[in-house]
Symmetry: C3
């Protein structure tokens, strides 16, 4: 490994993509494993949910995974919802967990982040 590669790894940027509800448990475990393996939260770590997967962000949901999202959010992980998906499912901004950001289109966010050097992982 060259010096240049070590620098690249040091400022690791990762974008996780999820569009199916049943994948949330695996995705959140993946995020926790990544943070633990690095020893600290990467400076740039983002989860983009589109399609039906945005449903998990509803704060009224009685789901133990919401606790994980809250804890990871506190550690600096950004959680993002696709506005096209929210509109299609009739979910309003005030129904979302505090801390969840909204982007106009999840796919545009995924493309732009990769153009900025983020690695893409889809659990």
């Amino acid at each position: 490994m060259t010096f240049y590669e070590r620098v690249v790894i040091m400022i690791l940027k990762v974008i996780f993509h999820i569009d199916e509800m049943p994948k949330w448990g695996l995705l959140l475990a993946n995020v926790r494993n990544l943070i633990e393996a690095k020893g600290e939260p990467p400076a740039e770590l983002e989860v983009v949910a589109n399609s039906e997967a945005v449903r998990l962000y509803e704060k009224e949901r009685a789901d133990s995974l919401l606790t994980s999202i809250g804890e990871l959010s506190d550690q600096g992980v950004r959680f993002v919802a696709c506005n096209n998906a929210l509109k299609a499912l009739g979910i309003k901004r005030e129904q979302l967990l505090p801390g969840v950001s909204i982007v106009p289109a999840g796919v545009l966010e995924l493309a732009e982040k990769q153009a900025e050097g983020y690695a893409y992982i889809k659990p």
Copy 2:
């Protein structure tokens, strides 16, 4: 966002990957959302179908999604079929929708496009 990053985003290149038939509806909605969010079709936007997903390209198929493919194709989106998949499924070039391109191997196309700076999205 630096000037350099804004330039990268401006010339957005995206490759979509599909290898399962049931994902076509979601994939085409993703492509439409990306184009709408950008306000114009990205200069470089390609859909690579391999494995069983190439079946949707058969022009004799009575599927409303074919209309979407035709419309997106007219807007400049490239639709590509993996020749290994076509051979395995016994589908001939003349059975495909006009405008669909054939590449020798879908996976090689996916790898080469990423090496050229394309973002990868798998719905």
Copy 3:
């Protein structure tokens, strides 16, 4: 295609990701197609298995796919298992096929390889 892009393609680097057992057949066919399309094994071709997908690496398994892994491994493809997944499933190093490498976290490997210029493909 510029000279620079052709050089990038020539030294093609690809990382395949698998986290579901039923996808192994498709993944190994993808790897074989990529090698065949290039005419020779890419210098840098790696398969990262995490979550339940690490189960296929157990050498006692009576599965015809193990032969494919052995053959591709002989051609230089690297097969990697996520240690978090091995621990969660109670699988020990000595139960794995010879030639399979272990990384502390599959997701970190996927992120670091992309930071080093690998293309990501998830069959």
